[in-house]
């Protein structure tokens, strides 16, 4: 057990105490363990221990065919599963050189931006809970349920969506989906406005968050931070704007940035991102209306798993189904890195393929993992209560952290 971080304090005059925060502490929203050395309420130093839900994603991925890796990606950042699903599909499509129809791209953006909103709702809502304001959380959770109901229309699942296939979607989107999205676009801004009224100029909230855990942009970049927490420090790095994937280049949106990189800025950046996401969804719906409404996947029968009813009725579809499932389809040998803007940072997929049925190596660049490593160093000198708020504002998702 010499591996375990333990502070040995043999000095009888010492006034420092050791506090073990986690791994099942209710204030940490996940399985994070931090062994902190405390001077009263103030943290002197800390050591993070992670890996409490390590599930060996990368090892499993080496044993699964490409299309069976989608359910694994669901369970990375489970607050915004569709982004992970789409990111994985796009990685494989990049490997296979598949060009998608515009309508599929726009539909993907709609789903991904809904996922981003759902993720930010949880993060900002929980930040409110941690500062003692439960109301905002309950207001916003209603709309996360609304997003989950939208997911149900396209894939039947609420949280781990497993939505889409390599080459498009598994089925076309129905009218109820569009009706629900339109209703969401009308209702959600009202609730978001109310949420902002509760928090943005709330004296208690500002006192608890402003100036807490400020981060310098250079330090943040040195720690390879990405996502809203990096943008809160003032760096406008957003994968959607910088390396547009899935036709983000057709849309008009802004990348909100903060100035000080403290908890309050992160909160504001996330709120603003939700508004931008709604803008994007709105534009996409208009663009989708102009496209042929029957297209929901690319015409790549060798890679796109055909719908079940066609498999039963159509010889060609049966053959392709068999070939894809049995791994008879040749895939190009090569390596590809593709990244998408996940809800908490740059989610990258590094895929090395040897032409077989499953990846030779698949590495996930997980933003939670990389963002979290700064937590213990930045907690030094902080009050314990501030460190708790800092953790919830980093939006670390345990599944993604430990992979």
């Amino acid at each position: 057990m010499e591996n375990h971080p333990v502070f040995i304090d043999n000095d009888p005059q010492s006034e420092l105490s050791t506090l073990n925060l986690g791994p099942t502490h209710p204030a940490t929203h996940g399985v994070f363990q931090n062994v902190l050395q405390m001077d009263g309420e103030r943290i002197v130093s800390g050591v993070s221990t992670i890996g409490y839900i390590h599930r060996a994603f990368e090892k499993i991925a080496e044993h699964r065919p490409f299309y069976q890796i989608t359910p694994l990606t669901d369970r990375l950042n489970y607050c915004s599963s569709p982004i992970n699903n789409m990111g994985w599909h796009m990685t494989v499509e990049k490997l296979l050189n598949i060009q998608l129809p515009k309508r599929v791209d726009y539909l993907r953006i709609v789903v991904m931006e809904l996922a981003r909103i759902a993720d930010h709702i949880v993060c900002n809502g929980v930040l409110g809970v941690d500062t003692g304001a439960f109301t905002g959380f309950l207001y916003m959770m209603e709309f996360r349920e609304a997003i989950y109901e939208i997911y149900e229309e396209i894939c039947g699942s609420r949280l781990t969506t497993n939505v889409g296939r390599i080459g498009g979607f598994e089925r076309n989107f129905n009218d109820i989906f569009f009706r629900k999205v339109n209703k969401f676009l009308v209702d959600f801004p009202v609730a978001l406005k109310e949420f902002e009224n509760l928090f943005n100029r709330n004296r208690i909230f500002i006192d608890r968050t402003k100036g807490v855990a400020p981060v310098d942009p250079d330090v943040a970049l040195g720690y390879s931070w990405t996502g809203p927490i990096l943008r809160a420090t003032g760096v406008d790095y957003d994968v959607r704007a910088m390396n547009p994937y899935s036709s983000y280049q057709d849309l008009d949106f802004e990348v909100p940035v903060g100035t000080r990189g403290d908890v309050y800025d992160r909160f504001l950046v996330r709120n603003e991102e939700m508004k931008q996401s709604m803008r994007m969804i709105d534009q996409c719906l208009k663009l989708i209306a102009k496209e042929d409404s029957t297209i929901f996947h690319a015409d790549v029968p060798a890679y796109y798993l055909p719908p079940k009813e066609e498999v039963y009725n159509n010889m060609e579809a049966l053959i392709y189904h068999f070939k894809i499932v049995m791994g008879e389809v040749d895939t190009p040998v090569g390596e590809v890195y593709h990244s998408v803007e996940g809800a908490n940072g740059e989610l990258g997929f590094y895929l090395v393929n040897d032409g077989g049925r499953s990846p030779y190596r698949l590495h996930f660049r997980r933003p939670s993992f990389i963002n979290y490593q700064m937590y213990a160093p930045m907690s030094r000198g902080m009050l314990l209560s501030d460190a708790i708020i800092n953790m919830s504002s980093l939006n670390i998702i345990a599944g993604e952290l430990d992979a």
Binding site: K59, G348, F369
Partner: protein, 167 residues
């Protein structure tokens, strides 16, 4: 769209490191070079500090294992130049039983956990790393599970034995 081409990058690197690097190609537009562990930190530092290239952002460090090759374990760095919006991939391969490489923590603080993860899964010894111990797996694990020879499933489990299925 990147502001500089892969050719520019390669010329800049060749001017300084010339014969110590091997160009693997540009799979999907991403320049991939291979180098040895003796100059990898110099190379990464050169890329980071270069006035034009500015590969200041360390995207990822990971490793790969090719058991049948002469040098089976490879460490892979992904760098990103945020100013020029271009990426580069640097690989270093090492022979079995001699898997150590200088740590990149001298250049980026963020390399710390990435290297710990790589050590945890592949057993790559990053010399000069401030705190190289297992990160995701249990502390008393003796193997490096992402190496190809280790199985996915727990070898000690009994619930999949044949006699449970009448075989």
């Amino acid at each position: 769209m990147s502001a500089i081409t892969n050719e520019t990058i390669l010329n800049a690197i060749n001017a300084k490191f010339g014969d110590t690097i091997i160009v693997e190609g540009e799979p999907y537009g991403l320049l991939t070079i291979e180098t040895g562990r003796e100059q990898v930190i110099d190379l990464l530092g050169f890329l980071k500090g270069h006035a034009v290239l500015k590969f200041g952002f360390l995207t990822d460090i990971t490793a790969i294992h090719y058991p049948e090759r002469e040098k089976p374990v490879g460490v892979i760095y992904h760098l990103h130049s945020l100013q020029n919006n271009v990426r580069i991939r640097v690989k270093v391969f090492m022979a079995d039983g001699d898997v150590h490489i200088p740590s990149a923590t001298v250049l980026w603080d963020g390399a710390n956990w990435m290297e710990r993860e790589t050590y945890d899964f592949f057993g790559v010894d990053f010399t000069g790393h401030p705190d190289l111990r297992r990160i995701l797996n249990v502390d008393d694990m003796t193997v490096f599970p992402m190496r190809r020879e280790y199985p996915l499933e727990d070898p000690n489990r009994v619930d999949k034995k044949d006699y449970f299925f009448g075989r």
